[in-house]
């Protein structure tokens, strides 16, 4: 189960024609798929498209009624390969994943899919996670569209536009026999808005009907000579068909005056930011009415030469607003102008940054710079030559005061003790080369653990340590991979590779029962029962099946001394070949969401429940914070004492503590200090509990009184 329940959202999928949908962008896309009569949907979870997957996973009833097949694919390559169902059959299919990381994985299937082309509409919805707050590198999906010759839609970021883009995408795909990529940026996926719904449509052909009447066409299979013909077909048939569809259906939009001397061309996704910059310069109103001619590319690939050249007619200069680099669109437009021998001056990255996110300030500076240089008459005198230089000179710089706050492990995270143990083992045996992977466990690279040297891709942690396999070395490499990455790609690329090449390194598989970083989706080794998926396949069995001889399973990661001992053994054993440690404990975020309501109910219902919480004796804590250097838990923090005798703040555990045990285990394993205690509250104690309690309290009370009446006691001590 995903960490969020989407029961409410699922109901929105049932809205009919004329109803108003209100909600998140990515869920609007989900609804649009059903309105388009999609026959099957697959994908791999990841921000910002996880919710699309999660909602469909919770919407099995609706999908069943419509005859739509939904799959949580094993990887983005699987999801894209799934679109093969649209090659011979007139079934609309959709695949979705995070881009560009997912698109990289999907590339092989994408190339083959694009080569043969499709009969039914094939839509690839890529959640573009670019810029601030992103966990991935800033590459462009655009490049994938170009190299595979698939079309790329980049709609304006509002719900009606992205819903329309889904409809356009399927039609464009069918009109040009080409898969279409629909790119939605992360903020657009999470935007809250409205659109008027349509009725859901049953697919014209379901996968069941296709299975019962199989078809094949050798001409669509990627093998010579057909594959050579595909290359010709792409440029001679499919491209012109796409250009024709985009132009005749007015996929791209024009705003503002027609006769201006200057104009702006932007990707659809950049439209709101462009308008905001114009609004701030007094050149557009709240609703986007503007004096500046705008050409908005809701389809960024292919580009429509005639449309663009018409836009440039009579304009002295045109600014291209294209986020990301290389600037493919700008280059293509420049070539068009050059070949058409036009005098219009084309600018883009001269005024806007070559790389990085186009934020509000960047847009204001860039478009402002362009207009000041090329059309100053449009601007008021304040904008043309501002007197003010900004407020920055009077307000003190806080960059040396405000601490950074990167994401880290949650309160009670079961991965924390794994890295605490690793840090302790390194203190004992020295530094090691550590290869990290993608997933929550990558937070190990941050303070306080600062473990891990590289991250090469999902499931590729151990693979990225494969060079470090030398009989001359005295130390072994350590590599991490999560359960998500393990099933995505790691089993073969990392474990299989290590077995085959007799890698002598240590591999730690961090098993938290979910694909946790993407929102807690179930995977093969999840422990929960799932109605529609087959779970509970142990990683240990898979690893052994792969041929690993040295396998250790730790089924409670919070046991730091055991984790430490197992790592030590793995690093020092005489045994050859990969040493695989599977460290399993449930993701605390998911566990709490699942268990907390149950526990509260049980306590209310009178059941005997023991609830743990940790605490610190502040008069025993010396304020060295060694515990925090092995934790970083949000619930373990520093607190000032109201005591002039003490200079440094002491450790303190707040109410958010879930009693995971890491503090006590680490204090023990690292021989830290005795200031931690675990307080177990026994709710609804039984009769025996009460009897024992009263007997103990009587004796303990007696001993305490005996001592305390014979010494001086200070009120505040």
């Amino acid at each position: 189960m995903a960490e969020r329940s989407f029961a409410k959202e699922v109901e929105k999928l049932r809205l009919g024609a004329g109803d108003e949908y209100a909600g998140e962008g990515i869920l609007a896309i989900t609804k649009a798929l059903l309105q388009c009569g999609v026959g099957y949907v697959g994908g791999y979870q990841g921000a910002p498209i996880s919710h699309l997957m999660d909602v469909l996973a919770d919407a099995q009833d609706i999908l069943g009624e419509l005859g739509v097949h939904f799959e949580a694919s094993a990887s983005e390559a699987t999801a894209t390969a799934m679109l093969a169902a649209s090659v011979h059959y007139p079934i609309r299919g959709a695949a979705t994943f995070k881009s560009t990381v997912g698109t990289n994985v999907a590339s092989d299937a994408l190339a083959n899919l694009a080569s043969g082309g499709v009969t039914g509409g094939a839509l690839i919805i890529v959640g573009e996670d670019y810029g601030e707050g992103s966990s991935i590198m800033q590459e462009r999906s655009h490049a994938f569209a170009m190299k595979s010759q698939v079309w790329l839609l980049d709609p304006r970021p509002n719900l009606p536009s992205i819903v329309k883009a889904v409809e356009d995408g399927f039609e464009l795909s069918e009109a040009s026999n080409t898969p279409v990529m629909l790119q939605v940026r992360i903020r657009c996926c999470h935007v809250h808005g409205h659109f008027i719904a349509k009725d859901n449509k049953r697919p014209t052909m379901t996968v069941a009907e296709a299975l019962d009447s199989p078809r094949r066409d050798t001409g669509r299979i990627v093998l010579p000579p057909a594959s050579f013909l595909h290359e010709k077909e792409k440029v001679e048939k499919r491209w012109p068909a796409a250009v024709d569809f985009i132009r005749s259906n007015r996929i791209n939009e024009f705003f503002g005056r027609e006769d201006g001397e200057v104009g702006i061309v932007c990707q659809g996704g950049m439209y709101n930011s462009v308008i905001r910059a114009l609004q701030r310069m007094g050149l557009a109103d709240t609703y986007g009415e503007t004096d500046v001619p705008l050409y908005v590319l809701n389809a960024v690939y292919p580009l429509i030469d005639a449309e663009f050249l018409e836009f440039c007619e009579g304009k002295q200069s045109v600014l291209v607003v294209e986020e990301g680099q290389p600037n493919y669109i700008e280059q293509a437009f420049a070539a068009m102008l050059h070949k058409a021998d036009r005098g219009t001056r084309l600018v883009g990255k001269e005024y806007l940054p070559v790389a990085g996110e186009y934020t509000g300030q960047v847009m204001l500076d860039g478009i402002g710079g362009f207009l000041r240089a090329c059309a100053p008459q449009l601007l008021s005198s304040e904008v043309r030559a501002p007197n003010k230089t900004g407020q920055g000179d009077t307000i003190p710089d806080l960059s040396r005061v405000v601490p950074g706050r990167p994401p880290g492990f949650c309160t009670g995270c079961p991965e924390r003790p794994i890295f605490a143990a690793t840090k302790l083992v390194e203190q004992e045996l020295g530094k090691h080369h550590i290869a990290s992977d993608i997933g929550c466990h990558l937070f190990s690279i941050m303070p306080p653990f600062e473990l891990g040297a590289t991250t090469m891709g999902y499931g590729l942690g151990p693979a990225s340590a494969s060079a470090f396999n030398s009989p001359d070395a005295t130390r072994r490499s350590i590599s991490f991979v999560g359960d998500g990455g393990f099933w995505h790609n790691g089993l073969t690329s990392s474990i299989g590779n290590a077995v085959f090449n007799k890698n002598d390194g240590v591999i730690v598989i961090v098993d938290n029962f979910y694909s946790a970083a993407t929102g807690g989706q179930d995977i093969l080794s999840s422990r929960a029962s799932n109605k529609t998926k087959s779970t509970k396949h142990p990683i240990t069995e898979a690893v052994k099946g792969m041929g690993v001889g040295w396998v250790r399973h730790i089924d409670r990661t919070y046991d730091v001394p055991k984790m430490q001992a197992t790592l030590r053994e793995a690093l020092t054993t005489e045994e050859k070949g990969p040493k695989v440690i599977i460290a399993s404990s449930e993701c605390m975020l998911n566990k709490q969401r699942r268990e907390r309501p149950l526990v509260d109910k049980a306590i209310k219902g009178g059941e005997r429940i023991v609830k743990p919480k940790f605490g610190v004796d502040e008069d025993i804590c010396t304020g060295d914070h060694a515990c925090m250097r092995l934790s970083g838990c949000p619930s373990l923090s520093v607190k000032s004492l109201d005591d002039p005798l003490r200079d440094d703040p002491v450790a303190h555990i707040d109410q958010s503590c879930v009693g995971c045990g890491n503090c006590g285990e680490v204090a023990d394993a690292a021989v830290l200090c005795p200031s931690f205690y675990r307080a177990d509250v026994v709710h609804n104690p039984g009769r025996w509990d009460r009897f024992l309690e009263s007997a103990r309290r009587a004796v303990i009370g007696f001993l305490q009184r005996r001592r305390e009446t014979r010494r001086l006691s200070f009120a505040d001590a």
Partner: protein
């Protein structure tokens, strides 16, 4: 950088249309920033506005800094073009769910003096980088507050986390209350409350937290009617001194010189009075610290130990100087007490078996009437601790024999979890705590006393030549803390810092350098910064 030009976007401008209100929320993941943004959007829609909210979820749950962004405008039937992220200098209301996040908002340019109302919870959530320093690595809240005053049109700050916790709710509810109370949005209070009620979960607690913060924000903003500097740039700013001073003030303690209420047998109380009289006879600036130190050492050991403490302290007072406000004696009063109350097994066992401690734990877990408390303590004794608790000669005998030490260590050195709510566990610690009476004869005591005397003498020896340096030598005691390895490392830092003394002696700025070395030593675990600083000292 180009500034947005405000004269072009007043309400009356024909091009501006309906004014767009721009509101950003900066929060730490897990604080419920998403819930808040949803609430604000719903409130706006409830009041006939079109609203749009965006966020970058995902990592938000994982404790990092996150931004939620809402834009809204009166609904005219046409859809406004809203931006998807906040722009520098273009935010009307900035809500920060934690004080440093307010600082981050200012740093990123989302708060501007002519434009932005900054509503911030004044509580702190320390970032990992602040927590892991061996000293006090926390960022300066005062600097952020002072900057926030200057940077914002209006700054409303109080502890909204506390209001939320006190009402059994989340900070999202009290943040919404503060927003409503600020009156920055043109929406009535009821519409906020109805929105909370409609959300369906924990409604009662949320409404209570909302109301608490609402009243506080109104109260805090009351002085608007009495601008401090009429016509000045801050004439709209709400001086929040009533709020900040209330936060800053520490509750007054009882009279520290006499020690406040002391309980015990008459005989001991009489002896205590004599000691208290000695404290009262000390120069005024020393009394407070000496009183606290005395209480600490007597609580740690016994009344004669308090006498020892005062004997030592009076050596510093004798050579001290009223001109210098008795800085030497104050430092001595503080650090002598800490040095004399070294952390040994006896002290830990004593503290863990007191009735006051039991009461504190019960308070902390808010133990219900029907519930039972079980407390597990985590100990990991080693041979060093074992020998420390032996009579000095026996302890030394063992320590001097590595084989014997190792043999014993194998039997002692492991984690022990002791249940202090059980009879056996409590009794074991109670007995160890009772060894207090023999403490003076134990190995650890002789080691600690020797170390103390050496350090104290070193400091006092420097008084005639360099008073300030002597004070700094005393202050170096701050370095010694922790248990086991941490304690060893602390001693090594202490020794390394004082090793610079020979190089520094005679310099005018010797005290200043020693202070810098000490602060460097508190920056990281191993003392890398200290080593760097020592190298600098060597080149002086």
């Amino acid at each position: 950088m180009l500034d947005a030009v405000s004269p072009l976007r007043p309400d009356g401008d024909p091009l501006a249309g309906e004014r767009v209100i721009k509101l950003a929320v900066l929060a730490v993941g897990g604080q419920g920033g998403g819930v808040l943004a949803d609430w604000i959007t719903a409130v706006a829609e409830r009041n006939g506005f079109v609203a749009q909210s965006t966020s970058v979820a995902g990592v938000a749950q994982r404790t990092g800094a996150t931004i939620y962004y809402v834009e809204m405008a009166r609904d005219t039937g046409r859809l406004p073009v809203f931006a998807l992220s906040p722009s520098q200098g273009d935010v009307d209301i900035l809500i920060a769910a934690e004080l440093m996040e307010a600082g981050r908002a200012i740093m990123r340019g989302f708060v501007t003096p002519e434009r932005t109302a900054l509503i911030a919870s004044s509580h702190r959530i320390a970032a990992v980088s602040e927590k892991i320093e061996p000293g006090d690595g926390r960022a300066s809240s005062d600097k952020v507050r002072a900057t926030a005053e200057m940077a914002s049109r209006r700054f409303i700050a109080f502890d909204m986390e506390k209001i939320a916790v006190d009402n059994g709710s989340m900070i999202s509810a009290s943040l919404l209350g503060a927003l409503a109370g600020s009156g920055e949005l043109p929406f009535p209070r009821e519409s906020y409350e109805r929105t909370i009620a409609a959300s369906g979960r924990g409604v009662k607690a949320s409404l209570a937290a909302f109301a608490g913060a609402y009243d506080r924000a109104r109260g805090g903003s009351a002085p608007i009617r009495n601008p401090v500097e009429p016509g000045g740039p801050n004439d709209q700013a709400a001086p929040h001194s009533p709020v900040s001073s209330a936060e800053a003030a520490y509750p007054e303690k009882g009279d520290p010189e006499s020690g406040g209420p002391v309980r015990g047998p008459d005989r001991l109380l009489k002896e205590w009075q004599a000691l208290a009289a000695r404290v009262a006879a000390l120069p005024e600036p020393v009394r407070d610290m000496a009183g606290r130190g005395l209480r600490k050492v007597v609580d740690y050991q016994d009344v004669p130990y308090g006498r020892e403490y005062l004997d030592r302290l009076e050596r510093a007072v004798a050579v001290d100087d009223a001109e210098r406000a008795f800085a030497l004696s104050v430092a001595a009063a503080k650090h002598l007490a800490n040095a004399m109350c070294y952390d040994d097994m006896i002290r830990v066992a004593d503290l863990k078996t007191r009735s006051t401690r039991d009461a504190r734990v019960r308070r902390e877990v808010a133990l219900g009437v029907d519930a039972i408390l079980q407390v597990t303590e985590y100990f990991h004794p080693r041979i060093e601790e074992f020998c420390g608790t032996m009579p000095a000669r026996l302890g030394r005998y063992i320590e001097e024999r590595p084989k014997l030490s190792a043999f014993l260590d194998r039997r002692i050195n492991r984690g022990r979890r002791i249940r202090t709510d059980s009879l056996a566990g409590f009794a074991a610690l109670w007995v160890i705590g009772g060894m207090r009476r023999w403490r003076r004869g134990l190995l650890r005591h002789s080691v600690e006393t020797a170390h103390l005397e050496k350090w104290y003498a070193l400091a006092l020896d420097h008084v005639p030549t360099d008073y300030a340096l002597a004070v700094e030598i005393l202050n170096c005691r701050r370095l010694i803390k922790g248990y086991s390895d941490t304690h060893v490392r602390a001693h090594s830092k202490f020794d390394r810092v004082l090793s610079a003394l020979d190089l520094l002696k005679g310099r005018d700025d010797a005290a200043e350098w020693l202070r810098r070395l000490r602060e460097a030593a508190l920056k990281d675990e191993k003392g890398d910064m200290l080593d760097g600083a020592l190298k600098t000292v060597a080149t002086l």
